[in-house]
Symmetry: C2
Subunit: 130 residues, 2 copies
DNA sequence: GTGATTGCAAACTATTTGCAAGAGA
DNA sequence: TCTCTTGCAAATAGTTTGCAATCAC
């Protein structure tokens, strides 16, 4: 599907590019309405989605829309499957080096911590693909 | 607030610890209902939240509940402020080493990519805290 | 002209909350 | 007993969708 060049779409991109606040859809809606008072929130949502798919804006979503829980509180990493959405554990041994690097980074940048999620195909979906 | 030892809470932890599927709250609700048919979804949500706060289970949420967007599609990293929830950009130069490590990891593990979010205090909140 | 896009409103999904009754220490 | 917790139902928050009208190419 080819993206046509509507006023709404143009202003949404423009305003988002001018902002450094990483707005939510409704925050951007408020701002865009200053230029286009009649625009609807649905249009903002739809465009942000399309523009993100087209790589013209960045969607900062890390996890999916539902939270997930894990009874294992020991340190380990997660990979979200791009095909089925399932979360798979990554063995800590494969990750220890990156974990060390990330801990160094946390010290260096004086931040509290980090969250890292890998994306890929889980074992099940990989098997089915072949 | 001190967590008392109810049947519901005990079974929620038990079932979650036995699962390796990283269930959502409603998935766990279905499973817990096999043991406690009268339990409500609200109880599951409330307990997961309390247990996660107490460090007894892990909540796999990376971003907050609203998606955020960014007009800058160049490679950079984000830090979510633990005080105000704002997202701050991390300068790429501070991050290039970790980025290199992460790219190596992606190759090694044969995954598609990763998502990394730092957590800490943004400049504004840090200034206010002093 | 025709397919993409819009505004509007209603629908939907995940989650949270108020409340009165019940359970745990 | 006194606080924490529960089930239930209603409320909320964020997002998505159906539809008829309108716009872009």
């Amino acid at each position: 599907m080819k993206l046509s060049n509507t006023n709404q779409r143009r202003i949404i991109i423009e305003e988002l590019r001018n902002l450094y606040t990483h707005p939510t859809a409704d925050e951007l809606y408020v701002i865009v309405r200053e230029k286009l008072p009649q625009i609807s929130l649905g249009t903002v949502y739809r465009n942000l989605e399309l523009l993100a798919d087209a790589g013209k804006v960045l969607k900062l979503e890390l996890s999916g829309k539902q939270k997930r829980f894990d009874g294992n509180v020991n340190k380990h990493f997660h990979m979200r499957c791009r095909a089925c959405g399932r979360i798979e554990d990554m063995h800590a041994d494969k990750m220890s080096e990156i974990d060390r690097n990330l801990n160094d980074l946390v010290d260096k940048l004086k931040v509290d911590g980090y969250r890292l999620e890998l994306n890929g195909l889980c074992n099940k979906c990989r098997a089915e693909e072949e």
